[in-house]
Symmetry: C2
Subunit: 671 residues, 2 copies
Amino acid sequence: MTGESRPIDLKNVKINDPFWKGEMELVRKEVIPYQWEAINDRVEGAEPSFAMRNFKLAGRITAKRRELSDDYREVIWPVDIFQTLPKDMDHLEDRFYGFLFQDTDFSKWIEAVGYSLTQHPDPELEKTADEAIDIVCAAQQDNGYLDTYYIINDMSRIFTNLRDHHELYCLGHLVEGAVAYYLATGKDKLLNAAKRFADYVYSRFGKEEGKIHGYPGHEIAEMALVRLYEVSGDEKYLELSRYFIDERGTRPYYFDKEHPGEEEKRGGKPGYHYHQAHVPVRQQDEAVGHAVRAVYLYSGMADVARLTGDESLKQACRRLFDNIVNKKMYITGGIGGTNIGEAFSFNYDLPNDLAYSETCAAIGLVFFARRMLQMDADSRYADVMERALYNTVLSGMALDGKSFFYVNPLEVNPKACHEDARKAHVKPVRQKWFGCACCPPNIARLVSSVAAYAYTESEDTLFMHLYVGGTVKKEYPEGSVVWEVDADIMDKSRVRVVCSEAAPEGTEGTIAIRIPDWCDSYTLSCKDHAHELHKGYEYIRGTFRKGEEIELVFDKKLKIMQAASAVSEDHGKVALSYGPFVYCIEEKDNGKDLHLLSVDTDASKAVFEKTVIAGNEATRIIMPGKREKIRDGALYSEYRAAEYEDAKLIFIPYYTWANRGEGEMRVWIGR
Amino acid sequence: MTGESRPIDLKNVKINDPFWKGEMELVRKEVIPYQWEAINDRVEGAEPSFAMRNFKLAGRITAKRRELSDDYREVIWPVDIFQTLPKDMDHLEDRFYGFLFQDTDFSKWIEAVGYSLTQHPDPELEKTADEAIDIVCAAQQDNGYLDTYYIINDMSRIFTNLRDHHELYCLGHLVEGAVAYYLATGKDKLLNAAKRFADYVYSRFGKEEGKIHGYPGHEIAEMALVRLYEVSGDEKYLELSRYFIDERGTRPYYFDKEHPGEEEKRGGKPGYHYHQAHVPVRQQDEAVGHAVRAVYLYSGMADVARLTGDESLKQACRRLFDNIVNKKMYITGGIGGTNIGEAFSFNYDLPNDLAYSETCAAIGLVFFARRMLQMDADSRYADVMERALYNTVLSGMALDGKSFFYVNPLEVNPKACHEDARKAHVKPVRQKWFGCACCPPNIARLVSSVAAYAYTESEDTLFMHLYVGGTVKKEYPEGSVVWEVDADIMDKSRVRVVCSEAAPEGTEGTIAIRIPDWCDSYTLSCKDHAHELHKGYEYIRGTFRKGEEIELVFDKKLKIMQAASAVSEDHGKVALSYGPFVYCIEEKDNGKDLHLLSVDTDASKAVFEKTVIAGNEATRIIMPGKREKIRDGALYSEYRAAEYEDAKLIFIPYYTWANRGEGEMRVWIGR
């Protein structure tokens, strides 16, 4: 019973889960094609991405530069990253457009494409992808460097602003995309390009004299390099990742060297919390700064800690995970209490209406949680992963896959979104596409690789962390066991696993199924196989034969939840959850002035109803409650006991909110 | 029984009220001398004001300009208003320093000095003031222009940016200061300078062709010019004020003419809400934009409406007043729900912890309310004036007069102030002095002229709006009546008015005493004089004889208040008020985690106790309540009924908060 595991090879899984199959088909049919149009600037009414355009221009420059043997300089410097967009797309200058990290629009797309191809081969999509890869690879410099912003503008300035520019972030996403595409198709052109870029970075960064003693301003390279190491077996990528992690936050600050005078501005105080670079990572015990950056870093730390057995790094990961989960996470699994810096706020500061709770940050928390799980198969990590995934991540995408939330508030008054600049970041309905297109493609790559979060494996054991139905193959030296997993989490409160193909007689194996935090009790049927509960997983061991069935029946009940006393925002309120889903109330079902509603706390009074929300099936919950009658009169008056009328409160799953137009919404409700 | 009135001449009042005398002495002994040091850049550790320094430099330039017959140009343009302050005050360049409106630091000081001299003659202070006036007047241009920013920088650019620069704002404050000093001392040097500046503005602005068709970006000139008209009798000042009011918000926007392209940026939509210039003032029915600017404008509108009998303007004033009072005012009389633009938020959006509620805005609301009262002696205006004055205005100054709040929140968690950038504007303790020194001198000028808010008069009637003890003289054609007013509002629930000097036998007069909104019943003793209640005032009419006494005894009780249903921030909460004072709870008296406290709503259980807060006497109120016990455990857990322990909640008057160090504070408390 070993705790460590690795994600399952996506090619060994075929998802047919009614819920997840639908989500993945949305990504395949809606998001990926839309995204391709978007990165080619062909979406009417959306801000252009410029990603492919920049690659094409960079490719021409690279070719020209080869001709001119390094004398070519098309210096347009410094480029205003908030430049006004051109009005006439047909007459663009030959220059870089968009954010500095615009290359990653392509990288995230190709990553989603890779995952999607493992589940649904599509020669036409693969052809498009290959052509795009040709364009991208043509931009690569002979030394391996590949970031169009600097290739187009000024190669002499590369790696001079690690803090604010995003070269190592672009490297990270390129690696993730290249690995995914390689694993899906076996084609290594992009993988080799990513390796060459990583090799070049390896040659330029490190402890040695003459090398750059820096680290990424926006993390992701840390975990991406580990992935490259795992695919290639080349130790230097692990070494580089570890270097970035170890160097981070050491004094004097590398970012200060890049930006002289910063130390003075701070008056000698520690800085760079925004970048998680305020102290060395092993000294960190509170999740701070930009939430996406933070969980990307922690994910890389967890990877390196697991692979190197670095106990102090493991401990830092556990402290940071615990800090998030015990003090800084919304009940929806969202993180980032403040829009200022898209960041974690202080402990227990979890405002519902001002929340940032970025979709990408929840995705990053899923990454981090799975890596903690890989380190130690403890269901509490999976509980968090599930919470973030089924609520905030899914909330990020409309039920039709056509619009997206960056920000996932737990309370919305549309009037405030429109008229209060403090809540300008909170949108009452999803938006089509963004100039900074981080969240939509991030959802695409996570949803299309959900099997890698649902299932991990060790030599002996197949871990089932999430209940995602499909066919799952576990390979043993002697042969494979194939399991048919029937796990419709939306509708049913059980998971059934049937052995459809057995390993050769005598092969022993283990399947470990998570017992979720939302069930108080369960029944396991596994014939006469030995089973044992360990850290929230039922380990069922045996020589499985074809047709053998394991069934786990959960006691799935409505839970009336409350927040810790220290969360003043939620004081006196409750939230409903049912299975992995957090629920909310919307104006559409409950009328205006949701703050006047209160809910009965007796969960046994709940009525569950099948419903259809924007064409999608869902379970809604009807609870008795009260509506406080509106008092007429003055803004302030003497207190008199409020009058109430009975109300039926209609709750819908949080991820389905804002799919029926604009209106008020609340997760936390008076009791 | 006429509704209209004018403020009493401050020389006809001697305040000896124990509460107000103390406040005024603080201003006289602490604030005015400190302010003088501040505007001369002699306060260690405080940001320099540069006000007197700029005037001195401007004076030299003006003298030089006379010598050089207009050829002198010392162009330093444009000056960065957020310029880094010089490190070495001894070696400043000859240039303008500070904010564009830095001149007003002097004007507010001289205004406070004027008021103070009426109550407390002080030859030394008057000498200092005269010398300062000499310096200021020396800076004036031959044409009357007087704003050091442009005098120092570039006279060819005056009046080219009314929207963002503050020339007309400087004019307004100069007039206010000059009038106050003239009325106190009879000295007209500064008054004449102010008139000459106003004359020059009159010559440049107006409907006529060739004149500037603009109006102030920051209002105040509107009401100041009315004051100048009232003192001088010169109609042109009233005319100019009315012009500014009538022109405001007309299309095309004057500010667009100054700043071409603004119309295009807005896509043809109305703009300039921040400046209350989005539509003509007579079409406005919602208080919007920068709160100080708004109430300054409305004050000027009320003045002009009263003096010109302009019914449509009166109606606009009433609508705007009602909108504030019914939808946009904190229970403390504070206004401005958002720090973004220091502005009104939307109707009923009154967040307690994010409040802006600027001291100056409450002062402006006092101005506006008194002008509404002058238009129509209806006690509902006085109720608002009193609420703002006794709570938010007084909260603006420490009990020792040495530190100040700009922002007056109704809920504070010091951790949030320090760590949450969204609340960076909220300070948990008062600050010494500010680079933008609007609030401290504004408090000084209001407190030292409080008699002009407590008392107004018409030909026949002396109005007592606030209960401020002292000697008050009402002049009649036949002679004067002097009243001794005993009105210790802090301690007593009655006001006693004794005639200490009667007018000649046969002179009839009226004294009108307000019945406050915080008393449910009262007893009036006025011998055999006729009396009548009208719009919240008891009008007592008669021939008053020496020694005659009128007494009004109020039924002053603790009130447990609630907010309207639409104020979601205050839902389920109550606030305590007692007489004019709103109360709050502080960590100092009640421990941490104030959100866990709830108060009994039975006001009869209140215990009143004399106490001393930072050396000042006050009444504290002890109420039974509950403290919810802290639950240990997870951030989210299944709801179980909370456990409570009995608690004694100790309330102190809101204006005394944060005088005993840093800690949590709340006005609105669970019930």
